[in-house]
Symmetry: C2
Subunit: 96 residues, 2 copies
């Protein structure tokens, strides 16, 4: 194995997947418009979040868009990932 | 393929890996003590964070431990993941 490729842990690989997924949907502009966010959630997070109504998408988008520029940048996106992962953690690990 | 196993996307699988890694190091107490955090970072994030001195670990732990209970709960841990993933994103995607 060439030593130019460091061994990446599963956790590091997961962090890279989050970055890759964001850029797959944001394209070169590096921001998600509302339609990009909807497509990303419906294609990549549909076991964890269901968006059935536009009202739900509008509310989520407004909550995430902290600086109000009508686009979701990477920091705003990672806040969504943190929120959904925390919710999953609470589902999978019931409080004692 | 049995229809009881839904197809999980790479992004969803990444979120599950974050949860699994946390619990691997927290054990049943579901909180990371300082030594657990050090071990997790050194074993699972060492391509992304290097902690060489105890001072650095102390400062990071204090920054993450928002409620000051001397333990890192899952929400405090996911804030670390968000911070490090955002930093990686900026390294890999230079601003134009």
């Amino acid at each position: 194995m060439p030593d130019t490729l460091p061994a990446v842990s599963d956790l590091e690989s997961s962090m890279l997947t989050i970055i890759q997924t964001f850029h797959q949907y944001s394209g070169q502009k590096s921001n998600l418009k509302k339609a990009d966010l909807k497509e990303l959630i419906n294609n990549e997070m549909n076991n964890f979040i269901k968006i059935k109504e536009n009202d739900t998408l509008d509310k989520l988008f407004a909550d995430l868009d902290q600086n109000g520029d009508l686009e979701i940048d990477f920091k705003e996106f990672i806040a969504l990932i943190a929120m959904v992962t925390s919710a999953c953690n609470e589902l999978f690990v019931p409080k004692v």
